[in-house]
């Protein structure tokens, strides 16, 4: 039993590190190779010169989107909470229709590098770009911190390192490799890391899915039966909704709030938006989303089988006892199926996942700072492109270091809510502003500022005064409150997820800010924006090599 208390049983840390090291070496070699082809321009660093195909970009998008949280987290949630874990994945998938129908192509046609390009298109450049960058940096920071802290937990889980200092060293190594990817490869290198990772992740999950189904005669119903049987008295409840969210009226409303943020947040995530600029045309941007939808949908179908499979083959008791609890469901299932080697592969894939996602976030945040804040707000558009790239590289290093330090500090903290927070900010501050600026002629600078800053502020305030930060009752089993802060309670907002309040309010603020201001919308620029967004005339072309 002592082994179990330290790491996942059957885990061979040396093997896990070796496989992961192999991934790092191979991807770094590829990053260096593709970076030789790069030109020195800004468009190459930020968007690989728009030179990826729709299919390549679609795979990279799924690599950017499927974080360790969605692999380990959802599989674990399904194993322990059954159907309620599945509800997450439905929201994460349906969300892509917003991107496909309303955002991707129009954004590709009107922007160049960042979300700020589109939002500031027909507004006063400096204030709107500053706002867009603020929101981009906030979302990226929350998301980044969640990923890096998750890396700490994963280290404990898979490499059998329980000492906080040693975990810190591993987090620092992960951060350093990520900085190397971004500095050497820019968007081109980062994209290839995401492509490789997506292929490994989806293939790995696919193989495990077929394996699990094979053990149950290729019958999903039998997998479910296995999970019910293994779940004992609570087993039957795994199959229907309500185990996690059905406890009270508040928890039901909370779930609806979460669902809203998931479905509207995706198309406002800056690191996803930026990926649409890496393809040459709007049509390729459309193709990217189509690829992403198929791959992400397929992947979530796999996690459904993996989650119930882990419930059936590993059992909820063993999962709960393992370090990392729910997060260990997929690794434990891998060990159950394919022994130490498959566990090693899945562990390495989970690490690769973190690496690829943080690299994507870092390049997005650094592009937004260099392009929106430095070049357009501080230098008022007079900077040389080389200077801008230098600033972007320095920013990437700074963000990388902040992520490492934040990850080390947050290691072991209960900050899973940060991902939900990132989605809530994206859905509240970004999406209303994007939709208004693409579709509403009257929308103006003050409307944009109201919806971005208002959405950001409301979301943050509601989170700070919500139960995730303080005031949840102490859990008798662990002796700790599930809230982030212990022994204090200054909360007054009843929901964990602010979306239900913050999203409608942000839309309202964008409307009020527009109609109450004396600003007139710039009609000429709106005509240009509308024609360009729909026809692609004058859109940024791919850089030919």
């Amino acid at each position: 039993m002592t082994v179990l208390a330290q790491g996942v049983e059957g885990s061979n840390p040396l093997l896990n590190i070796t496989i992961f090291g192999l991934f790092v070496v191979i991807t770094l070699a590829i990053v260096i190779r593709v970076s030789r082809r790069a030109t020195s321009g800004a468009s190459d660093f930020y968007t690989a010169g728009g030179g990826f195909s729709g299919a390549q970009n679609g795979v990279a998008i799924s690599g950017d989107y499927l974080s360790a949280a969605s692999f380990l987290g959802i599989a674990g949630a399904i194993a322990l909470n059954g159907y309620d874990g599945f509800l997450y994945s439905v929201g994460f998938l349906v969300a892509w229709l917003v991107a496909l129908l309303l955002v991707a192509e129009l954004l590709r046609n009107t922007g160049k590098f960042t979300m700020g390009d589109v939002l500031a298109f027909r507004m006063r450049q400096r204030p709107v770009r500053a706002a867009a960058a603020t929101s981009t940096l906030a979302v990226s920071f929350f998301y980044l911190l969640a990923q890096m802290a998750g890396a700490g937990g994963l280290v404990a889980l898979l490499l059998n390192i329980t000492d906080k200092t040693q975990q810190g060293i591993v987090i620092a190594v992960v951060g350093a490799v990520m900085i190397a990817y971004v500095l050497i490869g820019g968007m081109r290198g980062t994209t290839w890391v995401q492509i490789i990772k997506a292929v490994l992740l989806i293939a790995g999950a696919g193989i495990m899915t077929v394996w699990v189904l094979g053990k149950f005669g290729m019958n999903l119903s039998s997998v479910l039966a296995g999970a019910v049987e293994r779940g004992g008295q609570a087993g039957e409840a795994l199959l229907s909704p309500g185990k996690q969210y059905g406890k009270s009226e508040i928890s039901r409303i909370d779930f609806i709030s979460l669902a809203l943020a998931l479905v509207l947040g995706t198309a406002g995530l800056p690191h996803i938006l930026m990926r649409f600029y890496t393809v040459p045309t709007a049509k390729e941007a459309r193709r990217s989303v189509v690829w992403a939808i198929w791959l992400i949908g397929l992947f979530y179908l796999f996690t459904l089988v993996l989650g119930y499979g882990a419930g059936a083959l590993v059992g909820p008791d063993a999962i709960k006892k393992a370090p990392g609890a729910a997060n260990s469901a997929a690794p434990l299932l891998a060990f159950e199926l394919g022994g130490t080697v498959l566990l090693g592969i899945i562990a390495a894939v989970a690490f690769a996942t973190i690496l690829a996602v943080v690299a994507g976030l870092t390049i997005t945040a650094s592009a937004s700072f260099a392009h929106d804040v430095y070049a357009n707000v501080i230098k008022k558009g007079t900077t040389a492109p080389d200077d801008e790239i230098k600033v972007a590289r320095i920013t990437a290093v700074v963000i990388g270091i902040v992520a490492i330090l934040g990850g080390i500090l947050a290691n072991g903290q209960n900050i899973a809510f940060l991902v939900a927070l990132a989605f809530a900010v994206a859905a509240s501050a970004n999406l209303p502003t994007i939709l208004y600026s693409l579709f509403w002629k009257r929308f103006n600078t003050s409307g944009a500022l109201w919806s971005i800053y208002g959405g950001l502020a409301i979301t943050l305030v509601l989170i700070i005064f919500s139960p995730v930060v303080s005031g949840k009752p102490v859990d008798p089993v662990t002796g700790r409150s599930p809230s982030m802060l212990q022994d204090v309670d200054f909360g007054w907002f009843p929901l964990d997820n602010p979306g239900l309040v913050s999203i409608p309010l942000s839309f309202l603020l964008g409307y009020l800010g527009t109609v109450l201001s004396k600003d007139n919308a710039n009609e000429d620029k709106y005509a240009e924006m509308e024609v360009r967004s729909l026809t692609g005339a004058g859109a940024e072309k791919a850089v030919s090599h």
Binding site: A120, S221, P241, G297, A527, V531
Partner: protein, 113 residues
């Protein structure tokens, strides 16, 4: 380095001319009349699913085939509808949007060269 500088050399007047042209208005109508209602449909369909999962768990727990219950079928139907809407939109865009958008783009960019 702002975005607007990359515009083709077309005067502000010309953008407005293109915008008010019947072809462009047609393109705009085709896009909006497709994506807005469809967005309403898939969001309502998703919301229905979420509400049923929250407030009608016993309905969702009714088994239809072996251990597969209505909730699971409903969830999987969300996947199916997402894939179907994706395919439908791609087909629509290929046939009804791209040719018109391409024609307008060529006119704008060709006319200003």
């Amino acid at each position: 380095m702002s975005t607007t500088e990359s515009s083709p050399p077309v005067g502000a007047q010309d953008w407005e001319t293109v915008r008010s042209s019947p072809e462009f208005q047609d393109l705009r109508r085709r896009l909006r009349s497709f994506v807005f209602p469809l967005t309403g449909v898939f969001l309502s369909w998703y919301l229905l699913y979420v509400l049923l999962a929250s407030y009608a768990p016993s309905f969702m727990a009714v088994k239809v085939l072996g251990n597969i219950n209505i909730g699971l079928v409903f969830g999987l139907l969300q996947f199916v509808s997402t894939f179907a809407i994706t395919a439908w939109y791609v087909r629509y865009a290929d046939r009804r949007l791209d040719p018109l958008a391409g024609k307008l783009r060529d006119e704008i960019e060709g006319g200003s060269a």
